[in-house]
Subunit: 400 residues, 2 copies
């Protein structure tokens, strides 16, 4: 019997306990031994819940119990999740987490602690819900030079964008609905302003390039400013709007960004709707591979945690390779990033657009009295300067 | 230094040698040791090729060299690939293969030989080119009960269907073009009649359910009969045509099929074009995850082989878990399979369609003088019987 403890009995934590129970036999067959949850750490009580008898309120009970070999950290937040994770690793207990905030902030240090103590720090569930992309980066693709990671990494914003487009609703209405349905949090800032996607991109890019990508260095823009006029503009160019997280990894620097993009029909991201996430990985030998799955939800995320728990259970006493160095890669500044831009202007600004952008092909922007044009590739800074010349204009970055 | 030998210096084999060279440093860092190709087995000579000096014509050289710990089998065909693979495994050498014909036929026996000899038999490259779905099934998803595997598993047919649709060309023209471009073989039967997709589905389903699915038991239909009229029919229902391989895995039986399907826009398969492949895996906890990548091509497939070589190199002396039992699951007969059907009829057959199918909603089939209707879910046998009543009708199975 292999004993695990679960820290935090919220949505994901309770999903992990449930999944380990539901698939107990399948898991035992895969591992060659049974996995049982011995403790659940939470400050709350859960009278009548199956986990009631496993509840402890004091982490030291778990820390000091040598029979616990795997700790599932599904608390969220950096503190005290960091202190608990580090303490567990120092006792040689492997830690599996869904906590992207902690991984983005302290992942490098926690992976080092795992290596020093002959155990593992795994975080498949921190990016893309149930999508097994992190293990792919660490195993199948470990021999690839990864040149780009791009994805829809936040289910809440993808749900909002999908509904805004299909039902022609405005952002505040859909957000309120998403909150009522539990798809968005009461304070939706982390999701809608792109912070969550940014942290996930930092994690994936760090793994892909082997160096610590600081999430604060990634230019990030959310979806709260997107309007129906933007959707009409995108549609006029045959596009949908998706919040993309994109990192191009070159020898000299990493060019990363999180922002709403107009994506055309021939992009895989075009077909990713509702709460689904997608991660595209491009390798120098592989070419492009895309991983798609539910980006959120109790059981999808729990599935990813359970995958990590299995891996730890099969590798007791060993460190499963997962690494990035403390060293940071050079990061491109926002001003130097290069995109194509889809711009909407009042008809009256046409001659100015011709002058400042050299635009020659205009099309109907989908809104009365407005025209659209698509720029060639240009740096943000140059775009900003030219765009500032136009009155009452709007734009979307475009991934053509 | 870890030595490998490559059997068969064709497209994939030479791709593996190239990829191991290109990413030598990245691979050495991931493995903790360098991997070098010591021999290339081929009956041909390759004057001036980088592999010229590594060429041997006699497998026993490789078999008897104890320094060779990993054998890459990219010969294709069952014999002598089977004999060579078995001999290598018996010597404790791990074997990595792209050979779906051999895996579908002898995989169970070869995995058992690997277990008995403390080495591994891996075949990521046998299904879906570069897509790392097999390792996901064996690791991340090992604790899931897989309830369905569905995919576009053949790049050649997807390329043909994509071009037929976009360019309104007939099957023979596009096939000839695909052959000229090297996307289809001179004898295209294995691809276009679905045999290749069928073998891949047998492999994936065997792994997913842990029992040996015999590919001959999977009802299989190819794309050579698809016409422009069928594309118009599909489009009239908002669909594209894709050759799908699908296995629904229940406790009591496996319902598997390979056939052209009408897939609607909300299906992930709708957006999979050209030589891309996609594999959808549904687990009881995970929900659905989809893996997309190039289904063919020298380097994409080589990338998958290299992923396996890395895994073997990191696990010398051990057997990497990969298993299905000799026992066969109960397989549903073709007649009992249940689908929805999209049917096109001459207008003159409308009243008969109402009578035999109870069809009530008809729409324009996209071809002059023809109507279409979509059936509810029904068994193949019942459909066949009713369909036979209609004159000059055509149908597609539909995945709504």
């Amino acid at each position: 019997m292999i004993y695990a403890a679960v820290l935090g009995y919220g949505t994901v934590g309770s999903g992990v306990v449930e999944a380990l129970g539901t698939n107990r036999e399948k898991i035992a067959a895969a591992v060659g031994d049974e996995i049982a949850v011995k403790y659940v750490l939470d400050l709350r009580e859960f009278p009548g819940d199956p986990a009631e008898k496993l509840l402890v309120h004091d982490f030291s009970v778990i820390e000091e119990d040598d029979s616990v070999q795997i700790v599932v950290e599904t608390m969220g937040g950096v503190h005290p999740a960091y202190e608990f994770s580090l303490a567990a690793l120092k006792k040689g207990k492997s830690v599996c987490t869904s906590n992207k905030a902690l991984v983005a902030e302290k992942g490098c240090e926690l992976m080092a602690a795992a290596r020093e103590n002959g155990c593992s720090y795994l975080f498949e569930a921190s990016c893309g819900g149930g999508i097994p992309v992190i293990r792919a980066l660490n195993t199948s693709l470990a021999g690839e030079k990864i040149t780009e990671i791009a994805g829809i990494l936040n289910g809440t914003t993808n749900y909002i964008l999908t509904r805004m487009e299909k039902e022609h609703l405005n952002y505040p209405e859909v957000l309120a609905d998403a909150q009522a349905l539990g798809y968005a949090e009461k304070d939706p800032t982390a999701d809608v302003e792109g912070h969550d996607a940014c942290r996930k991109l930092a994690i994936l890019t760090s793994l892909a390039c082997g160096k610590r990508v600081e999430y604060t260095r990634i230019p990030t823009e959310g979806i709260s400013g997107i309007t129906q006029e933007d959707f009409r503009l995108a549609a006029a160019a045959g596009c949908r709007i998706r919040l993309l997280a994109d990192a191009v990894i070159a020898e000299e620097q990493v060019e990363a960004v999180v922002a709403p993009f107009a994506v055309p029909e021939n992009s895989f991201f075009y077909g990713i709707n509702d709460v689904f996430n997608a991660v595209s990985v491009t390798g120098n030998v592989l070419g492009e591979a895309v991983f798609v799955g539910r980006g959120a939800g109790k059981l999808a995320t729990a599935s990813a945690v359970v995958g990590d728990v299995l891996d730890c259970a099969k590798n007791i006493g060993k460190t499963i390779p997962s690494f990035w160095a403390e060293e940071e890669p050079a990061m491109a500044e926002k001003d130097s990033l290069v995109f194509r831009f889809l711009v909407s202007i009042p008809e009256t600004e046409k001659s100015k657009a011709e002058a400042v952008f050299g635009a020659t092909e205009f099309f109907d922007a989908g809104t009365e009295g407005r025209l659209a044009f698509l720029t060639g590739e240009m740096q943000e800074q140059a775009f900003d300067r030219a765009f500032a010349e136009l009155e009452n204009a709007r734009f979307l970055r475009a991934r053509f």
